[in-house]
Symmetry: C2
Subunit: 596 residues, 2 copies
């Protein structure tokens, strides 16, 4: 028997008359990161990357994932699962189904794991060829032994000295929007939007301080649907002061089913799951719109920005200590990738207001860094040596903000090619960091700035240049971002107060990977008289490795930028360093000069 | 009586029970440029810009147009028409209608002047508030005395030595597409697509060598709907050799009304008019897709490209002669903007294979050039003097291609600001011209390259950086182009063989305007080993005015680009110059140097 899980699944598919069953990577809130309980696709296929969809028929078991995960998927996939390489971000398994199935065939899904938008697309595509989509619930539930339980951590208040804006003010902002738009209700389905609105945080998903819940707001009421056990009496008391009504999590479908004909509900079709949608009476008017809370949440005010700069300083201190430790320790002994990642976490843990890491560190030596989303292995450890380049992409959750920073450093001698590529990536990073642009400019207009120097040498990298980042929330958040693709995030204009990462890279498979990432905040250009131009302020504070720079490739303005950045890092970080660290910092931030 | 036309129109609106009547700028093929016969909006309002929509109610007469035309509209609009300034490219008059009208009100339109897409958007928007769209035909027809007749010029064959690809091959290409996609018919509604397919040109619209017609292609037949008088027996004979069936123009609606249930028609909803759409039986399957011919047409092959380079050389010779004449003549006497434009046309007229100009020259002195779409006035002539800057944007129709070129030149002393702005625009032009980018890159990704230097000084320009351009066809053609906006043209990836203009500018209202425009063709990068990178080759040949360059602002690579470009212009153009012109050319193309 090749694969028992698959055999049982196929049996129940046969009983139900289902030709294909789709297992997406999703929870019922369409979260980017999901809890262990929802990792059905990983359990079924063996592949544990964050993105991928499995499709099972009687004679095929396939896993569709994107280029970030091709190497990992080939290593992890259990037989007989086969890898289908996604060429685009589209759900290409639909095209496969169209080719494999016949008119009248039935495709089974668990509709609570599909957003309304995903379901509509799947259904419309298959309908064209007479293929039927049918809701059959979770067929894996009876098979999955030892399924991890749903987490039931306690929710806690995000203190107002960090949240800055009281939840009552946020709710009022939402109600003003409802009345301006003539909507009666808004249903929030994305967990980070609810956490933001209620100034509440939790522990339901690793690295993401979220509380599994729904929230329905109308002109008078705020209904918060959550497992009662997650809400302590202290938190409940605090919520009730602002007239938040705590309701059982599961009661949301019943409440939605009682919406009246005169009601007009606005909801985001990319995060509302299909099962919940089906509860809403047809008579009630439903408006699908990207959630307005995404934008409210993305624009941080001045007070939040100073808390954020402080969190970034704490994070920069930890990163400096870590890099100083690494570059000295590596001369003494080999260090495993896992240990290096853990040490980065260790130094973060010493910092004030630290609440945990914001994602598992990508700690990757030489060729391992060629996978942008590499995950170091404990079982087959790879050891860093005093030679070549090492990449660490890591971040923390602080009460005053979420951080995300990548540094690529020389651990010893590096090649001429490595220096050139590091410098090309750095030039792109700097061009984007220095850019000034009119209001209305979107990420898709600016993304190429970080690529021009690579492109001139026929090189490129296969991911977007940057993403929005939360404020003690998700490490990835919308609505904005840098990308070449005409996807939603890249089509949202930048506004003052938006945080965004700047992380170009270069990946040479089998050899090495390079990435340089700082967080920036969009600001009004102080020199713009009409206030119609914007700039970015870099708010990550950690040296860029001068040993990897080919100074002859740098323009004078780029050298000035590097020196000014390093001077700022030194000014901010130096007072937190011990004597050994201070010497390292001084050396790492001393000015570079062009040899004429 | 303030406005007789309006009074009569309002009377018939009253009789029909119509609260508002919309007069768009359109013919029945949604052509960008329209013949005099269709210029109803211009006749009604007095405003003759190419873009604008009039809306008339009983107590308001409004004209909506975009920023290119604000100044012109204010000068030309007849009372009581009021200008509504468009903030976006959206039809904002719909929002106005939503505010002004009440539920149950009727909006009248002539449905042959609305594309299916426009109609759907209008109807859906107004329906939300219970406002009804009603087809009432052309209410202006009975009022419009002395309406210009429909042009009935003869169609002529685009000789195969210029067309290069026989129509039979193009039709076969289309049929392959139909069978690949499982469509039975394609209806071509855009006049330039039909002209391309049939290797036919005409004279129905000024500057656009088009034949008013429709064309329906299925797996066996090609039906060409055109006024019989336009087709000479010689042309007819040629068409019949390729089994093209000439049908009366008006019979297209009858033929469409007989499509069968088993048929599947593909058509472009942005150019099919609503009246024609209404003729198609509901039972027939209709697929709306951007016309595939747009893409076929946009990608020119190597033989077409050499013809195009030759046409550009002819055009460059004319432009050099013109600029040489202008810069010498202006020292003797004032020259009117109109005369200067006519002289550019005169020099083009001396060139081989010249078939007419491709648009009315924009001949603009100093502050007049601050309107990107300025049209010089014969009634109130403006005279060029040996002082300041002059802009001329002009082009020709040649058997081997359509040209479009803009030069801004010093006629005498210029200000420091004018030199700086010219140089910033030039730097943007060069950065785009030198760019190298991976396959898949779109205009929206590259548009900013031409703006970075302006942006750094808080400046910008209000139009896209460039458009596709036809091959002895329309001066503007899709599907690609450079723009900051997420409009269709900017989201189409560049492919080798696509022509595109590169025309950044800077406009200082009340002072001066600057634009530098060349045509480029997308090419595979010869240094790209995997063939996965593309570049642009500049194919317009005329000097850039060195007197307007602030060399201190130019980078070394930019100076190298300018010198190489000028050397190429000299090599190509010089043998066509008379001795006086040769001296001018030599001087105009001599290398520039940086003073260190």
């Amino acid at each position: 028997m090749e694969n028992e899980k698959l055999e049982i699944l196929r049996k129940s598919m046969k009983q139900l008359g289902i030709a294909a069953y789709i297992v997406p990577s999703s929870d019922t809130h369409k979260s980017e990161y999901i809890s262990e309980y929802w990792k059905t696709r990983a359990w079924l296929t063996g592949f544990n990357g964050s993105a991928g969809t499995a499709v099972v028929t009687q004679n095929h078991a396939g896993l569709w994932t994107d280029s970030r995960y091709f190497i990992l998927a080939l290593q992890q996939l259990e037989k007989p699962f086969e890898l289908h390489k996604l060429a685009t971000r589209n759900p290409e398994y639909i095209e496969w189904l169209l080719e494999e199935l016949s008119s009248g065939d039935v495709v089974g899904i668990d509709d609570q794991l599909f957003s309304v938008a995903e379901f509509e697309h799947l259904d419309a595509s298959l309908q064209k060829r007479g293929i039927v989509v049918q809701t059959v619930g979770d067929l894996t539930a009876p098979i999955w032994k030892n399924r991890p339980p749903q987490l039931n951590g306690k929710a806690f208040i995000h203190p107002i000295e960090f949240a800055i804006i009281p939840r009552s003010v946020k709710i009022q902002q939402l109600r003003t929007y409802l009345s301006q738009q003539n909507y009666s209700h808004i249903l929030l389905t994305s967990l980070d939007e609810i956490a933001w609105l209620l100034n509440l945080r939790g522990n339901d998903i690793a690295y993401n301080p979220l509380v599994t819940s729904f929230c329905l707001v109308n002109r008078e009421r705020t209904q918060f649907f959550v497992e009662p056990g997650k809400i302590s009496s202290k938190v409940l008391h605090d919520l009730e002061k602002d007239q938040i009504e705590r309701m059982p999590y599961d009661s949301v479908s019943n409440v939605l089913s009682h919406l009246a004909e005169k009601d007009c509900l606005v909801v985001d079709k990319n995060s509302l799951n299909r099962r919940l949608f089906a509860q809403i009476p047809k008579a009630c008017r439903i408006v699908f719109e990207p959630s307005v809370v995404q934008k409210f949440k993305a624009i941080k005010n001045e007070k939040q920005l100073s808390k954020y700069r402080e969190a970034q300083l704490f994070d920069g201190v930890a990163m400096c200590r870590f890099l100083c430790w690494l570059q000295s320790e590596i001369k003494q002994r080999p260090i495993s990738e896992v240990e290096a990642g853990e040490m980065a976490t260790h130094f973060r843990g010493l910092q004030p207001n630290f609440m945990g890491i914001s994602f598992e560190p990508i700690s990757a030596y030489q060729k391992n860094a060629a996978s942008p989303h590499y995950s170091p292995s404990k079982e087959n450890p790879c050891y860093l040596k005093p030679d070549g380049v090492y990449l660490i992409d890591s971040g923390g959750q602080y009460l005053g903000g979420t951080t995300d920073i990548t540094r690529t450093v020389a651990l010893g001698p590096v090649t001429r090619e490595q220096k050139i590529d590091f410098t090309l990536v750095l030039k792109g990073h700097i061009r984007l960091a220095m850019s000034k642009f009119p209001k209305g400019t979107k990420g898709i207009n600016l993304d190429a700035l970080s690529r021009l120097d690579l492109w001139q040498r026929g090189k490129d990298f296969g991911h977007g240049t940057g993403h929005g980042i939360g404020y003690f929330l998700n490490v990835h958040e919308g609505p904005h971002g840098f990308s070449q693709a005409a996807q939603n995030v890249a089509l949202v204009p930048f506004e003052p107060g938006m945080f965004v990462t700047n992380e170009p890279g270069y990946y040479l498979e089998g050899s090495y990977g390079i990435r340089t990432e700082n967080v920036m905040v969009c600001q009004p250009d102080p020199h713009s008289l009409q206030g119609d131009f914007l700039i970015f302020e870099t708010v990550s504070y950690c040296p860029l490795d001068k040993d990897l720079m080919d100074i002859s490739l740098l323009a004078d303005v780029e050298i000035e930028w590097i020196n000014a950045y390093h001077q700022k890092v030194f000014e901010l970080v130096s007072s937190y360093m011990n004597p050994g660290e201070l010497a390292w910092l001084k050396d790492s931030t001393s000015p570079i000069k062009k040899h004429h």
